[in-house]
Amino acid sequence: MSFEILIPVVIIYLGIIGFLGIKGYKGTKNSSDYLLGGRNINPFVMALSYGATFISTSAIVGFGGIASQFGLSLLWLPALNILFGIFIAFIFYGKRTRAMGLHLESHTFPEFLGKRVNSKFVQVFTGVIIFLSMPLYTAAVLIGGAKILEGLLNVPFEYSVAFFSILVAIYVIMGGIKGVMYTDALQGVLMFLGMLFLLVATYVKLGGISSSHQQLAELSQSEIFPQGLKALGSNGWTASPELGSPLWWIIFSSLVFGVGIGVLAQPQLCVRYMTVRSNKELNRAVIIGGIFILITVATPYIVGALSNVYFYNEQGLSAVQATAAINGKANVDEVIPLFISTAMPKWFGYAFMLVIISAAMSTLSSQFHAIGTAISRDVYSAISKRSHDKYGVLISRIGVIISILITVILSFNMGSGIIARATAIFFGIMASGFLAPYTAALFWKRLTRVGMIAGMISGIAVVCFGFLFLHSKEAAVFGICRAITGENSLFGTSVGQFIDPLVFALPVSTLSTIIFSLMTQVENKNTVDECFALVKKQKRLIKKSNQKTLNKIKFKFFSKKGKKL
């Protein structure tokens, strides 16, 4: 790569990021600004920030590489990402979270859950779980971004980690959520344009949509298709694997179910619903969110799978074999960078660098902010009973600094092999522990404090047991099951070892939430009634507002015609 071109481009990019960070800083006067952007963020900024936070480097490079192995069946993941992560999230979860959060005066995800059932324990417990588990995921994103810089520009790993950490730290500490969301929006636009070009250019290069898919289907019958995948149940790169086969469980329980549905209970995403002023903004945000996720999430999977066609046409190899031909060792993480450097125009290589930097920074900034506010507002302020309003911004900033330090230390000590596992563990814990209680908090008046605590603890306990003793991928990393039983999983070598622990933990958490709620009484009945009355009243207001608009239109229409109403 030519540094003469790259360096000025990166400097301009960083200059704009710095400007947006300062803009966030100037607009941050109090806790509400720092935590929720004063509840007045533009809907398009919110949607782009949500999407950019959602999509990290590992989603583009890591999952794109995995798609070169597993094929187009992975399209189930972006399909569920849009259905659950955008449509259901914004329309059903977002509106209620915003209305109830406003009434409960909550500023963070843990605070929302805690105030919903009037429990400090719930707030502190949720904050502690986020503080303990999210740095694993954050470190994974940081390592992923640093590895890309190291690979493409030969920047040493330590310097790459320092580059990302210091840069993101500056605007998160200074600008709070405003700094985070403004920069996310810019980064989201770059990611969208980069992915759109990549998708179109790939189809053009391979002869069109249908033609490229047909070539991929034909390749699945050729000798370059991995025999190991066939043994696991694969039916080729353009088909889903055999129902119930190991590959089917890997794809549908871990990737599609875990990530696709687990997105509903991500603290750093849920808090964004509370940053907009009204439901109108959420409705508008849905448009941008839908288009953004369609392009940015679907593209890596399609391009990753189709890269096999390109490398076969050029070199007679599969994508993974092509990485081995260059580096001597097959590595799925190198498929997308290699495809871009060989199949795309040279200028796009530079643009893609910015896309990758943007993807890493946008996710990192939101994670730092979420961890920082969890430890400062949800743990420290709640336990110390100090007024967060008085020292709110300062305490939150200290929390963000602590979260960055922990993440950097972790990233220097975590092996690269644990990146995907760390992400899976975080998503598993969040979905298992919080999805059922959070859903009940929004839609079920009968939820009690005991029910919520039972749902959280049982979900987290089962998913942790699953990671330690059932799911062989994570259990092998921890080694406890092997030390006790001699096997990586209590399922031994059966297909059960491939089933994601979330499949067991989510039903347990749901049942616990329901059963324990039914066994106990709602203690804060008045608050709950007010919350649900508010949602109801909001619907009435909306209905009335719609009727009023309709009446005005009818009035004008009939008036012009000279008719009486």
């Binding site: 069946s73 399209l75 449509f87 406003l102 289907a217 849905v286 288009i291 009243k537 009818k554 009035f555």
Partner: protein
């Protein structure tokens, strides 16, 4: 469809594109429909009452 014959992948593509289109259409249809439902409007019952009486006054009751 698009050179793919596997039913499962075709369903995934339909959900993918369908969800995106539904999101876009929903956002456009609801672009202005929910008005300015702000904190004050949500929390103050009087607003609702005023809205009701204002409409009655302006339009003379039912349409």
């Amino acid at each position: 469809m698009f050179g793919i014959s596997d039913a499962s992948v075709i369903i995934a593509i339909i959900i993918l594109i369908g969800s995106a289109l539904t999101s876009i259409i929903y956002g456009i249809v609801k672009w202005n429909s929910e008005g300015e439902i702000t904190k004050e409007q949500l929390l103050e019952e009087e607003i609702w009452e005023n809205e009701e009486s204002l409409i009655d006054k302006e339009l003379g009751g039912d349409l």
